[in-house]
């Protein structure tokens, strides 16, 4: 174990902003991307069951 307490873990020896700034961005995109892909699939499915616009 490297950390004695929660504060040490969060502050990361003073580099907390950088370490957590990096990981936060990674997690953000690793959450956005699947959601966006899921949305795209949903829209495609809906387009098939309720086609909008002129029939092909």
């Amino acid at each position: 174990m490297n950390w004695n307490n929660l504060e040490g873990f969060i502050s990361m020896g003073g580099y907390g902003l950088y370490v957590w700034g990096s990981y936060a961005m990674v997690l953000l995109w690793l959450a956005i991307e699947p959601y966006a892909a899921w949305r795209r699939q949903r829209n495609a499915q809906q387009e098939i069951s309720n086609p909008t616009g002129w029939p092909q």
């Binding site: 020896g13 370490v19 990096s22 961005m25 991307e33 699947p34 795209r40 499915q45």
Partner: protein
């Protein structure tokens, strides 16, 4: 009924759609499990670095993201080439599905690189060979995405994208060599720009585990996106209509 799996069995969008749909949840689970393990090893087992302190722990996402960004470009170009060579629709669709994921990993490599550079080198951005090449790689991804999105005719956009991706692959070594030469020429700094902590084996383990997690994640997302593209393109096919009606009946 005997079903033999031939080389092109999974080249049919319908088969791929079903198989990938089954695999996606497992891939996400694998990604999360391995990722958490990697984080545990990286934060709780790997020791503090002597020169960089705790800031070096960014490496556990930075390096895997950079690896993913480079390999995904090659994979994307490969599938586009296969699509072109065999006139295989699904291969083209997979190539298109990979591009956004590759671009995002490239961006993450740049972002985490900048956040690593600030505490260790003192600036957010350094024009060193690797970061600059990574930036150019982002331009290559964006160029591919822009080209395929702006051509309306699907067949043409697939082929044009394939040609562009292959040209990119050929040029990447040339660009990297040029940028590396340029960076060593202009670098007067005494700090070694490639400073990475000497790898304790636990650090390497965490990095490799995270790479596996990223791979599983990439497979999952690319499969998801490919399925969406399949539905978009093949919506008039019988199997798609059949599936759609099956879903409707399930909901009722």
């Amino acid at each position: 009924m005997s079903t033999s799996i031939k080389l092109f069995t999974f080249a049919a969008p319908s088969t791929f759609y079903k198989l990938s749909g089954y695999l996606i949840p497992w891939l996400y689970c694998l990604s999360i499990a391995v990722g958490l393990t990697a984080l545990y090893v990286g934060f709780f087992i790997a020791p503090t670095d002597a020169t960089q302190g705790e800031a070096y722990r960014i490496i556990f996402v930075h390096v895997p993201a950079a690896w993913m960004s480079m390999v995904l470009y090659l994979v994307m170009a490969m599938w586009a080439a296969i699509g072109w060579a065999f006139n295989a629709r699904l291969a083209y669709m997979v190539a298109r599905a990979i591009a956004p994921t590759g671009a995002i990993f490239t961006f993450l490599a740049l972002w985490t690189g900048a956040f690593w550079g600030k505490p260790t080198w003192g600036t957010w951005w350094v024009w060193d060979a690797r970061l600059t090449s990574e930036l150019i790689l982002l331009f290559l991804y964006l160029g591919y995405m822009a080209l395929v999105e702006s051509i309306d005719d699907v067949r043409r956009s697939d082929k044009a994208g394939a040609l562009l991706a292959l040209i990119g692959v050929v040029n990447v070594p040339i660009i990297y060599f040029s940028v590396r030469w340029w960076s060593t020429l202009h670098q007067g700094a005494t700090i070694s720009m490639t400073a990475a902590p000497k790898m304790a084996s636990t650090m390497l383990t965490a990095m490799l585990l995270m790479t596996i997690a990223f791979w599983a994640y990439a497979f999952a997302v690319v499969f998801m996106r490919t399925r969406a593209i399949i539905l978009e393109r093949e919506k008039n096919m019988g199997w798609v209509q059949f599936l759609s009606q099956q879903n409707k009946r399930k909901k009722q």
